[in-house]
């Protein structure tokens, strides 16, 4: 959602700049024109939200093992009905996508934890042109690429298991 100053004086250069700088969450999530770390930042949030949605659905659908919200114990017909709805092509594709985003989120998350505790940063030095963040060394980018490749391989593996 956009938050901007609006109101009177909206055409003045200063306000125009202010509005441009207040494009809200969508702008903060837009990584185009930035380096790989910024893309990883966006993907970490998008995959995190996707996993959260899946987890909520999964907690809901596994509750049908005990008859759903109003069940009282393990129920074979309720579970068969749930499997009939979820174990099909669409459900299997969702599972493969879940594996894809979970593996990326997990490996990139390990990178973030290591960064938080300063374990994979380069030594700080005086800023010099072109002012690239020297703390973001090649190791960080290697881990991001590892996360991408591992996620794709894991998704392919999961696809062969689920649909194979």
């Amino acid at each position: 959602m956009t938050q901007n100053a609006g109101g009177e004086g909206a055409d003045s250069p200063s306000t125009e700049k202010q509005v441009k700088n207040q494009r809200g969450v969508l702008a903060s999530l837009n990584p185009s024109g930035y380096r790989l770390e910024r893309w990883a930042y966006t993907f970490q949030r998008v995959t995190g939200l996707a996993i959260l949605v899946y987890v909520l659905g999964h907690i809901g659908d596994t509750s049908f093992f005990v008859g759903g919200p109003f069940g009282s114990g393990p129920n074979t017909s309720s579970w068969s009905g749930d499997i009939a709805i979820t174990a099909n092509l669409v459900g299997n594709l969702i599972l493969v996508l879940v594996v894809l985003v979970v593996v990326f989120h997990g490996i990139n998350g390990i990178r973030l934890i290591l960064s938080e505790f300063g374990l994979i940063f380069k030594k700080p030095s005086r800023p010099e042109y072109p002012y690239r963040a020297k703390s973001q060394g090649a190791l960080q980018r290697h881990i991001i690429w590892l996360a991408i490749v591992a996620a794709i391989l894991a998704a392919l593996w999961a696809g062969s298991i689920i649909m194979g």
Binding site: L52, P74, G106
Partner: protein, 117 residues
Amino acid sequence: MRESRIMLVQYVTAAAAIVLVTIHLLMQGVLVPYSLAIDFPHVLSVYRTWVDAALLESLLVVVVVHGFNGLRTILHEWRQGVAWSRWVDRGTIAVIVVVVAYGTRTLILAATGTVVL
């Protein structure tokens, strides 16, 4: 709780989630064939083995806390303000309690309830 402490919770739950999700995925298709993993008698035996049930409960708590605390972080980045922050924090705790309670109810009923054929 201080924000730095909450971030520590986020990192600890992240590390725990990596271990528990890996075990969960291995049990759902690698160590146990996928068709068997969703078969009713097998799922029942998992819920009624206390080690497996404890792992599932841990997975539930860890993932829900990590997920909703992550959403809380995004909402704090999105907007700032005393009232907004207060309600986001309260809402996060409330949703975590409700979702964990619902998932725990499934586990308890599956482990102790009478099987309906």
